[in-house]
């Protein structure tokens, strides 16, 4: 049974495998990991900076204080101007109390170092300038060969505060401090992997709690799309948004199911009504149709007006009877009561019969290859072909060509009806198979009931086929009845 709103065979949007990782879960995972990494890095960075600063400050203060004390002490014993020996002793004396520190003393061009092998380039020009010009203790952190050093420089002044020309620099390694602070980084680095793994686990868990209801909703929605309006989702526990969503979905589904059921009920009623009306019309029509010939036969003996009336009644009775026939046929399609009454026929013969019956043999060009035997309902094929050819003769222009063909693969047979008229207007094309569709007002008084093409299409569908319509590039409309080629048992090949 075919219903317009019935279940469709094609499942809408089957889930693509990439969605497993590229979907919500992937996004949640990436989000979680990003948050974790950013917070870890930020916290680590801040902590590292703070602790490094604190350690360095402490070191600087200690070095500064010690250095000042040592310089003050040693300077008291130094005669100015010093010579190289006394200057070296001076530097060594200062360095002695400062642990792992190289002390460099400079007096004008004279230089002495507590450690002769020490690299003096660690004292930068900027520091020297700062010490000389500002005449106060200055310090600078420098990196040499990957090792950090603290360089403190101070001028030695006389008690009056005037510079003596003697500058002392202490270069102490910051490696220990660097190692201390680096320990923090190592600790964080070692801790980051477990944290990340934990984050991933948490993300997956969170994703699952979100995704499971979402997936279920998705499945239910797909079932709905496939026509199963009874499907519902289980509402997750709790009062969160997902639970609300599930509840809303179920309410919507219920409302939808109810209204669809109502619509179908109404539709069924309307169909029954049309069928009943057609049926009721048939009995008076049967009587009218029967006696219409009497009017026709005797019209010649009636006064002109009465004759005209009699002929009109007779003609309109015939039209009404066709209309009621078509209505009944349509209502049988709608209610699914239409059945194929198949037999194996030679399609060429069937088409020839159709044309001969209606006196069209002379007016229509045919290409009807013999030997295309198919299992069809000959009456319905006759109806379809007669309708297409009739339309072509009425609305198109001659010559009308009827072509029977089988597809090369042997899966399909087609009957093509082409005319040489102006073709169909683009706005008409989509509506050709609509019921009671009239392409223009001039056609409202046409011979047909307005249901011919719609019935033709239903007949084609009943055979598992269809009717296609198109305009030929060189003018004229082409209607093609296309059906699967069902061969009978007696047909060879």
């Amino acid at each position: 049974m075919r219903r317009g709103s019935g279940p469709r065979k094609d499942a809408p949007n089957p889930r693509a495998p990439w969605k497993v990782w590229g979907g919500l879960r992937g996004r949640l995972l990436i989000g979680f990991v990003l948050v974790a990494v950013v917070s870890a890095v930020t916290a680590t960075g801040l902590a590292y900076r703070e602790s490094r600063n604190a350690v360095l400050e402490r070191k600087q203060d200690a070095v500064r204080t010690d250095f000042r004390n040592r310089v003050d002490q040693a300077a008291a014993d130094l005669a100015v101007p010093p010579d190289e020996v006394s200057l070296t002793r001076f530097a060594t004396g200062i360095a002695d109390g400062l642990g792992d520190t190289v002390v460099v003393a400079e007096y004008r061009t004279l230089r002495a170092s507590s450690d002769a092998s020490a690299d003096r380039t660690r004292i930068s020009r900027a520091l020297r300038d700062a010490v000389r010009t500002h005449n106060r203790m200055s310090l600078q952190r420098v990196d040499r060969h990957g090792s950090p050093y603290l360089v403190v420089g101070t001028p030695v002044t006389f008690d009056s505060g005037t510079p003596s020309g003697l500058d002392v620099y202490a270069i102490s390694s910051l490696r220990a401090e660097q190692d201390d602070t680096a320990g923090i980084l190592d600790a964080v680095r070692d801790g980051l992997l477990p944290v990340l793994l934990l984050t991933v686990a948490l993300a997956l868990l969170a994703a699952r709690t979100v995704l499971r209801p979402v997936r279920e909703l998705g499945r239910a929605t797909r079932r709905h799309a496939a026509g199963d309006l009874t499907s519902r989702v289980t509402v997750p526990k709790g009062r969160d948004e997902l639970a609300d969503l599930a509840r809303d979905f179920n309410h919507t589904a219920e409302a939808l199911e109810t209204s669809v059921a109502e619509l179908r009920e109404q539709e069924a009623k309307a169909r029954r009504f049309v069928a009943d009306v057609s049926h009721e019309l048939r009995t008076p029509l049967a009587a009218m149709t029967m006696v219409a010939t009497v009017l026709d036969e005797d019209a010649d003996r009636l006064p002109p007006d009465a004759a005209h009336a009699a002929r009109t009644v007779s003609a309109e009775t015939a039209r009404l009877s066709r209309l009621v026939d078509d209505l009944m046929e349509m209502s049988r399609f709608d209610s699914g009561a239409a059945r194929l009454n198949v037999g194996e026929v030679d399609l060429a013969g069937t088409v020839r019969n159709t044309l001969a019956l209606r006196g069209w043999t002379e007016r229509v060009r045919v290409e009807l290859p013999d030997g295309i035997r198919a299992v069809v309902d000959p009456r319905r094929i006759d109806v379809v072909v007669a309708n297409l050819v009739g339309n072509a003769l009425r609305h198109g222009a001659e010559p009308v060509t009827v072509t029977l063909a089988a597809s090369p693969g042997g899966d399909w047979v087609t009957v093509e009806v082409a005319d040489r008229g102006p073709g169909l207007a683009p706005d008409v094309l989509p509506h050709v198979f609509d019921r009671f569709y009239k392409a223009d007002s001039a056609r409202t008084r046409s011979e047909g009931s307005g249901l011919g093409t719609a019935i033709g299409l239903e007949n084609a569908r009943l055979h598992g086929g269809t009717i296609e319509v198109a305009n030929r590039p060189d003018g004229g409309a082409v209607f093609t009845l296309r059906m699967p080629w069902r061969r009978g048992e007696g047909a060879g090949g």
């Binding site: 029967m290 009497v294 019969n353």
Partner: protein
């Protein structure tokens, strides 16, 4: 004086019945009418009903329906042609009606010319024909072409005209395959894209009467996809 064909109309709707009666009388038929199946059967059983040559039978009747009326007409031994009036597309009705023994059917609403043509064709089938005088015997089945009788192993088999025509047509050329369309044209005189179910139903009824095992026919054989042939016996 030309013979007046005598027809019985069985139709419950007065207007339709009157219309048909009017038209048929105008065209020279003697017409009896019945509004119900019971009346029709009663009429056929009376002596006055003996010269009725054909029945036009509406399927939708109050009381016993057209199928039952048809079955009882046949059960009474009557072989008059029965033309059913049916609604178009009520396919199951057509099949049931033909199985009940109707010879032909017309679809309501029917025009007078169509109804008349069918009545004429049915009456012609009932007339004697001289296809090929003589008596043919096939494995116990005797077809008397002159007397238009069929008997099997000495027992006469009464056949309604349509079934008899089908048998005569097929047995006139034993072994030749007749398509359903051919039989429709020659027996029913249908000049339109006929309904092969008429042929199938008539063959079915014929087999039920002349074959030993109707399911495995010997005389009227089916040639799948093409039609029927008589024999080879």
């Amino acid at each position: 004086m030309p013979r007046v064909p005598h027809v019985l109309l069985i139709e419950d709707d007065a207007s339709v019945r009157d219309g048909m009666e009017l038209v048929l009388r105008r065209h020279g038929y003697a017409v009896d009418t019945a509004a119900t199946g019971e009346d029709a059967l009663a009429l056929l059983a009376r002596p006055a009903g003996q010269d009725i040559e054909l029945a036009v039978l509406d399927l939708m009747l109050p009381g016993i329906d057209g199928f039952e009326v048809c079955r009882r007409i046949r059960a009474s031994g009557s072989t008059i042609p029965v033309i059913m009036l049916t609604a178009r597309g009520d396919d199951s009705d057509i099949v049931r009606g033909l199985e009940a023994g109707a010879d032909d059917y017309v679809v309501k609403p029917v025009t007078a010319p169509v109804l008349e043509a069918r009545i004429r064709a049915a009456l012609r089938r009932a007339e004697p024909v001289r296809v090929r005088p003589g008596e043919d015997t096939y494995a116990g089945l005797v077809i008397d072409r002159a007397g238009l009788t069929v008997s099997k192993r000495g027992t006469p088999i009464p056949l309604p005209p349509t079934e008899l025509r089908v048998l005569l047509e097929l047995s006139a050329s034993p072994g030749q395959v007749f398509s359903r369309e051919q039989l429709l044209r020659s027996v029913w005189e249908h000049d339109f894209l006929g309904d092969s179910r008429l042929v199938d139903a008539a063959v079915g009824r014929l087999r039920a009467k002349i074959e030993d095992v109707p399911a495995r026919p010997v005389f009227v054989q089916t040639v799948r996809g093409f039609g029927y042939r008589f024999g080879p016996v």
